[in-house]
Point group: C2
Chain length 354, copies 2
């Protein structure tokens, strides 16, 4: 393995000193980039793109050619695990993900394929290896998965949902069945993330996109508990270096203190949480990642720069901050505004690390 030329991300996630605040963007390999749209068109479906290691590598590298990001993130989907379990993931254009089969009963649950990630999700591991080779030690590669609760919402509802009526009815009325499903998913996700680390991932993020749809008590019971179980099961090191884990619950700002205790090295913040207040609340237990409103990228470069300055000042002096958006970048953003965003973090953050 080559040495890592830029290890700011790994150091900041472990709260070790850095020269400036590292930055990457959720969904940085995505539709706002014309070169992504071209590759995507060439590949066929979104899933075809995920399953082709060369093309997945290509789109992973695209944002790094434009912007001096401090990390690459595996190009894949959060729903690969339930797809491998036999649910049949597909995407309707403009509709979001759908499953051909759903999980709503004990029998449905028994019908799920017992997966081993190295075998059933080999295409993801191929992509990780290909990207890691292509990165050639420039920046670290982040692997990821959806959280058990987030995966369960799609598996029970059969796709995206507005009110989560089915999955919540299951959680409220058949908690044993729900816990059985979540336990099974937690084990599968832990295996999946460990396989990504063996294949070359150097940091991990668990995307809990729908944890914020739950009440405080239900979040603890149905989402956080299982992320905790995953974090505890993950390998702590790879190549003699700690593999930091980031837990990101969209809408989880009210529960920061408990999230910070789940064992992860870092907590991702969406843009609704004031990052200075968040730092006071979690103290030195975890690093924080975030948290500019992705819609700020529709503003002018000057306004974007001001917002970066405000967030950097909000976090304050010292390490433990990874700059990011508070959620994924959206397709309509002008790529030049991302330049302004990344440049601002580069230029304005060193003063906080002296």
């Amino acid at each position: 393995m080559t040495e890592l030329a830029n290890d700011r991300l790994l150091r900041a996630l472990l709260r070790q000193p850095v020269d400036r605040t590292p930055i990457w963007m959720m969904r940085q390999a995505g539709r706002y980039l014309p070169e992504y749209r071209a590759t995507r068109q060439h590949a066929g479906s979104f899933l075809d793109l995920c399953k082709n290691a060369e093309l997945a590598c290509e789109v992973t590298m695209q944002p790094l050619r434009r912007y001096p990001m401090d990390a690459a993130i595996l190009f894949s989907d959060i729903l690969t695990v339930p797809d491998a379990m036999g649910l049949g993931l597909y995407f309707e254009e403009g509709e979001g993900p759908r499953f051909r089969k759903t999980v709503r009963s004990e029998a449905d649950l028994q019908g799920l394929i017992d997966i081993k990630s190295d075998d059933h999700l080999g295409y993801v591991m191929n992509a990780v290896r290909t990207i890691r080779h292509e990165l050639n030690g420039s920046v670290p590669l982040i692997g990821f998965s959806g959280s058990p609760w987030t995966l369960a919402t799609y598996m029970v509802e059969g796709g995206s949902s507005k009110d989560f009526a089915r999955v919540k009815a299951m959680a409220y009325d058949k908690p044993e069945l729900m816990h059985q499903l979540l336990g099974l998913l937690a084990d599968a996700v832990a295996d999946y993330l460990a396989a990504q680390v063996r294949a070359g991932a150097q940091a991990l993020q668990i995307f809990d996109t729908w944890g914020g749809s739950l009440s405080a008590a239900a979040y603890q019971e149905f989402s956080l508990q299982y992320m905790q179980r995953i974090v505890a099961a993950l390998p702590e090191e790879a190549d003699g270096r700690t593999v930091p884990v980031i837990v990101f619950t969209k809408g989880g700002g009210q529960w920061l203190e408990t999230i910070a205790d789940c064992g992860a090295h870092a907590v991702g913040l969406d843009w609704t949480t004031d990052i200075g207040a968040a730092r006071s609340r979690v103290g030195d237990r975890v690093a924080l990642q975030g948290n500019m409103d992705p819609a700020m990228l529709y503003a002018t470069p000057q306004r974007i720069r001001e917002e970066v300055a405000t967030i950097l000042q909000g976090y304050g002096n010292g390490t433990g901050h990874v700059f990011n958006l508070g959620h994924g970048i959206t397709p309509g953003v002008n790529p030049d505004n991302v330049t302004a965003f990344v440049d601002a973090v580069h230029e304005l953050s060193p003063q906080y690390h002296q």
Copy 2:
């Protein structure tokens, strides 16, 4: 005016002693009721229903005939004010509200009709008077409006939005224009709510459905500030009784302390906030309204009852709590489950008011 037979809601909102916790439901006159669907079909469009005082009164009364609710809420839409300003509100079946015209420039803003609610929204005042007469002093009538920020999101975007790209770009890049629009809306909403009080509304709720899409700082600047201005401008009394005002920001759980200082008598909570923790945070400054997950109504009556018990216990002893859902009831709910919900509040709450 007749005496009010049941004034629990008004008393609890003012933190005066009550014999049990009052309850009403957001969207209690709605599609989950077969009799609502029948009236709606008869009326024509959703807006036709809002504009017909007799039919608006009929659907307002329907839930009260089924359930011993402690309040009626005016049947109307949150977007009546921008519609009256000339934007042309309409509803695409299954699509949510749309406007024929949008507000994206100084010229668009100048083109808005300068409305007086008694004249331009006379149909709402007719509905208020008709309902108040029909209620005949049984329970109080709640009037309402959308918050300035929430109205602005629809006016700028032209309808519902996933990421609020246009309205946020305007807020971030042209704050003067946005403040001009919000100021104009705040004055119009204050006039609209005051007119509802003159017509007979006995309590008011401001629905800040999209305040939670903002960052902490932007929420304060673009949403809360204008609700504060409205609350300050409202008549304090009608018929010698205080007219309590409830501010409900969906997704505002992180900002409870500042919301509690906006001058309103009560703060509405969505279901993501623990109501016991919320009470500790706001102390005796305001009453709290909420906050069962609307999706809990998809569970069994027994489970619903358990959740009611948990929330009542979470709030604890004494007045200052109005039971409600954390957001509007959804169309797929079985009306019998609402019976279980309301009965549980009736039966389990008196012990907290001894």
